[in-house]
């Protein structure tokens, strides 16, 4: 099992450690609800160093990156970031990722930890005579996410964050004699930053951010809080809403699939696709929590399954995301989730479950 350089810090802070995507990671410190509250109201600090960093460079790199992801990168400028997915030839999802434009010949792809090696192999074997270099540089970097309404102010105490750094933009910031890639991104629905730092400086940056945020009540935040925050915000998680059998259209991600005037891996399949199922979000009556794999029924008939579910501290009710079949003889109304043999009525709603605090 892999460990991030912060592993001992987590253990010292009393974290419960679990295996996640091949990594030993902190699932919680003080408790998932208090960590969630810290991020929604103040600030939380996450170690997301397990995420993968793949660099693509060279004269043909823009054309190449544009061919492997579903979102268009051709109009991107240095300092911009887009969310995208990578598809295989069948239009199924290899991974979802962030694409950083660091110049017309330099691109950074931030990918899921559990998929980093698979993605690197996938990407490097897609090169067809293009003059590009693909490097998996994940071990060279730590990645910290500071999230919550106070987070940018906290980081600004110890480094020069440009006041006008916009959502889904990044800049290079000098800190402690090294250069950080600081982006206004996150996975919580709150305002915040993600800071990419050389591995050897990661612990120092972690300590400095915790110290800087003391007065604001910054909290250590673990994977359980991260999952809760992303579900409330309606973000997909690979292995739940996305996988190698799911296309981005069915997953409600048409907005990151740009068909016009370009070609990309999976385009032909996606053009022909007639989705057989669709992603839905719902709240559940009562207090039982829908869990991944629970069956969704309409009029007693099985029509789908839950992919993510939790108890929303903001809404004070159980919430879930899942897929249901399109067509058939159900209307998409009168849905229920089967919880240990009982059918619990579900009310379909729109994503996100809660109003985002991010400044778009």
């Amino acid at each position: 099992m892999y460990k991030t350089v912060l592993c001992q810090r987590h253990i010292d802070a009393g974290a419960k450690m679990v295996e996640f995507g091949g990594w030993l990671m902190p699932v919680q410190y003080s408790g998932v609800l208090s960590e969630h509250a810290a991020v929604r109201e103040r600030a939380g600090l996450f170690d997301v160093s397990h995420m993968g960093e793949i660099f693509v460079s060279g004269p043909d790199s823009m054309r190449f990156v544009d061919r492997i992801v579903t979102n268009s990168v051709c109009n991107m400028k240095n300092g911009e970031i887009v969310y995208s997915v990578m598809c295989d030839d069948e239009g199924h999802t290899v991974d979802d990722l962030l694409v950083y434009c660091m110049g017309p010949q330099s691109w950074l792809l931030v990918v899921n930890a559990s998929n980093a090696e698979k993605d690197y192999n996938w990407i490097s074997t897609r090169v067809q005579g293009e003059n590009v270099k693909v490097l998996n540089r994940s071990p060279e970097f730590g990645l910290l996410a500071i999230q919550g309404p106070k987070s940018v102010g906290i980081a600004a105490k110890i480094m020069d964050i440009p006041q006008d750094l916009k959502y889904y933009h990044f800049c290079v910031v000098e800190w402690g004699g090294s250069q950080l890639i600081v982006s206004r991104t996150g996975y919580t629905g709150e305002d915040g930053l993600e800071l990419m730092v050389e591995t050897g400086k990661t612990v120092e940056l972690w300590d400095a951010l915790l110290e800087a945020g003391k007065d604001e009540g910054i909290a250590h935040a673990g994977l359980a809080a991260r999952d809760l925050l992303r579900i409330e915000s309606g973000y997909s998680l690979y292995g739940h809403e996305l996988d190698e059998k799911t296309d981005p259209i069915s997953a409600g991600l048409s907005w990151v699939v740009k068909m016009n005037g370009r070609d990309f891996i999976g385009k032909a399949a996606l053009e022909k696709l007639k989705p057989a199922r669709k992603k839905i979000a719902f709240t559940l009556e009562g207090k039982n929590i829908p869990r991944q794999g629970f069956i969704i029924r309409a009029g007693g008939k099985e029509v789908g399954a839950v992919t993510s579910g939790t108890f929303s501290p903001v809404l004070q009710k159980p919430i879930g995301i899942g897929y249901i079949a399109i067509g058939g003889n159900h209307t998409g109304e009168n849905l229920a989730v089967e919880v240990r043999g009982k059918e619990i009525p579900a009310a379909v709603c729109k994503l996100p479950f809660i109003k985002p605090g991010v400044k778009k």
Partner: protein, 128 residues
Amino acid sequence: MEYPDGLYYTKDHEWAQEEDGILVVGITDYAQGELGDVVFVELPEEGIVLKAGEPFGVVESVKSVSDLYSPVSGEVVEVNQDLEAEPETVNSSPYDRGWMMKIALSDPKELDKLLSAEQYMEYIKSLK
């Protein structure tokens, strides 16, 4: 983690305390720690009769869900209604205000099959 002496314990991580043939039942400090923040406790109807080892309810935390098993056979005489509004009491006070049900013991011999605090602590160690 605390495991008070004088309580009975089960391998399903319930504790039980006997008072005049009535057993007060809850989940252990270990169990609440493993579950994390509890958000819902589903308890039985009062008057229902349970067999030893039978599920009597469910505890849902943000992270996971777990069945509750009756340590002994008998009739449920009271459940902790306060847990409906304050399920987090299971985390903050597992052996006191976080109790779950009271059951009228039908066969006192069943108590012999339960673990002591010392035996339960040994059992937990074997899980790690």
